[in-house]
Symmetry: C2
Subunit: 300 residues, 2 copies
């Protein structure tokens, strides 16, 4: 079982290919749906009274345990943003935290002995509060963003000392390490606590740093990227889902997990919201895993 603490939101997104309003989103949502193809998922987040019951049903239909999804007085966290023509630049139009502003994660008793824990991108102080509530997890991974790197660096460094892995994008990696060379930056992150640093590079794939090892994973060659929202969290969901399911955090298996993360991100970006991941099966996932093996293969 993997436990995720993060946001459940309603997203309004504009891409060159279409527009969607109040679609199911949020870091914990994308993570949960992606991870649900691999293992049991417990989701801890908060939504408002306005949150559509069919969205909760969809999560339940995917077997996601929503015992930890608090329904609070007020409105659900809303985010709206737009992407430019090549989908590489995102502009946030509006962020309304609403009930998320008062979110103080409280783990259901049954989650406290979770072996695999993902701290999605929330205030590092809340991430620390989650760690206080779990007993002796086998593997904890952390996401963050420039907002916290700049505004709550001290708290973030404290969380980092207590996690096994950090997942962040290349810009965040450089900013956190204060180092422009990505290889040096990735290694510097390891000096801050985590034994594994995973750097997501969008259409350029991902890198993993662990000890002196460096792994370069190809992106899935998507010729129909529709909406990149949630790709990073879907990546994390595939990554943690595979680790939890195999219960193996050896380096070769962590590499495999990076590839499963890549696969889930590739499904995510093909449609709005979680639609690209809503009706998959393990065969479709394994097919893309195999495709990535072929895409990156060369003989000595």
């Amino acid at each position: 079982m993997v436990l995720v603490v993060g946001s459940v939101a309603l997203d309004s997104v504009q891409t060159p290919f279409g527009t969607v309003t109040d679609a199911l989103g949020g870091s914990a949502t994308f993570f949960s749906v992606a991870a649900s193809y691999f293992t049991d998922v417990g989701l801890v987040a908060v939504v408002g009274r306005d949150f559509p019951s069919e969205d909760i049903r969809m999560l339940e239909d995917r077997g996601i345990d929503v015992t930890g999804l608090e329904i609070a007085e007020g409105e659900t966290f809303r985010w709206s943003g737009s992407y430019d023509f090549d989908l590489n630049n995102r502009e946030t139009i509006e962020t309304k935290l609403n009930v998320f502003e008062q979110f103080r994660p409280k783990l259901p008793v049954g989650y406290r002995n979770a072996d695999y824990v993902f701290l999605a991108n929330i205030d590092p102080e809340l991430q620390l509060a989650v760690l206080e509530q779990v007993e002796d997890p086998k593997f904890v991974a952390l996401d963050t963003m420039n907002f916290w790197i700049e505004g709550k660096r001290e708290a973030l460094l404290k969380v980092m000392e207590r996690v096994d892995a950090i997942v962040l994008n290349d810009g965040e990696c450089r900013e956190l390490a204060l180092e422009s060379n990505l290889i040096k930056a990735g290694r510097a992150i390891l000096g801050m606590g985590p034994r594994i640093a995973i750097v997501k590079k969008g259409e350029h794939g991902a890198m993993m740093f662990a000890g002196d090892d460096c792994f370069s994973a190809p992106a899935y060659p998507c010729d129909s990227v529709f909406d990149p929202t949630g790709a990073g969290d879907s990546f994390a969901g595939g990554f943690m889902g595979h680790l939890a399911n195999s219960d193996d955090v050896s380096e070769p298996n962590v590499r495999r997990a990076v590839i499963y993360g890549t696969v889930m991100a590739s499904f995510c970006v093909e449609e709005f919201s979680v639609k690209g991941m809503s009706s998959l099966n393990i065969d479709a996932i394994k097919r893309r895993f195999k495709d990535l093996k072929e895409v990156s293969h060369f003989d000595m």
Copy 2:
């Protein structure tokens, strides 16, 4: 033997790590030095009377045939540029074409039956003029840049119809194909003539498109990038050098050639000018090839 037609220049470069003035540069130079570790190289270019004789000696010492290096009245092509702190953005300070302005490539008779030909980044009309002079090459590859894509599109499309491969960077690929999705763009390039399209992505590695196949090559994890000037031409030199040496243009071997290109680019960027490639040996090159295998490996 591989024949290259391009520029030999004197570069003045500023990077965050240092400055160099009138250092040996130019597309044909970087290409030749990189390719010289794999096969015989014939270089066709022009320099002025001011060109340092020790630079010619260096090329000769690497076994490069400079019969086709014309020494003309006037000054050598000079380029100066600077890189910003993360080396991703380059600003051209000045370009003085000098003798290069009147360059009309004329192949020495002995080069006309070259099997492997690289048309480095020059005016596509000159590239066509080179193709008129070679007899029945086995494999021709082409480099170009945004300047020609925008200014001489018609001529460029004519060259493309007559080559086996094109090597360009991701921005150029998108611009040439008029398509923002890189996978679609790479495939669209194949519809313009070449059966192989290689897209260089700097620190993010390279991709190769061939038929329905797509190959994603990792970058070499360089933690000491000093000066990116010439990386693309060094890549092309390793790529073509390996193909010419093995005389095998099958798809698996073209993938290997992409990796050798990646290796040569990684040596190039570690020092100014061609210094990073001046005293290598095939063992050092093969070691990095093997490193790249490990960097990109994962088990099913």
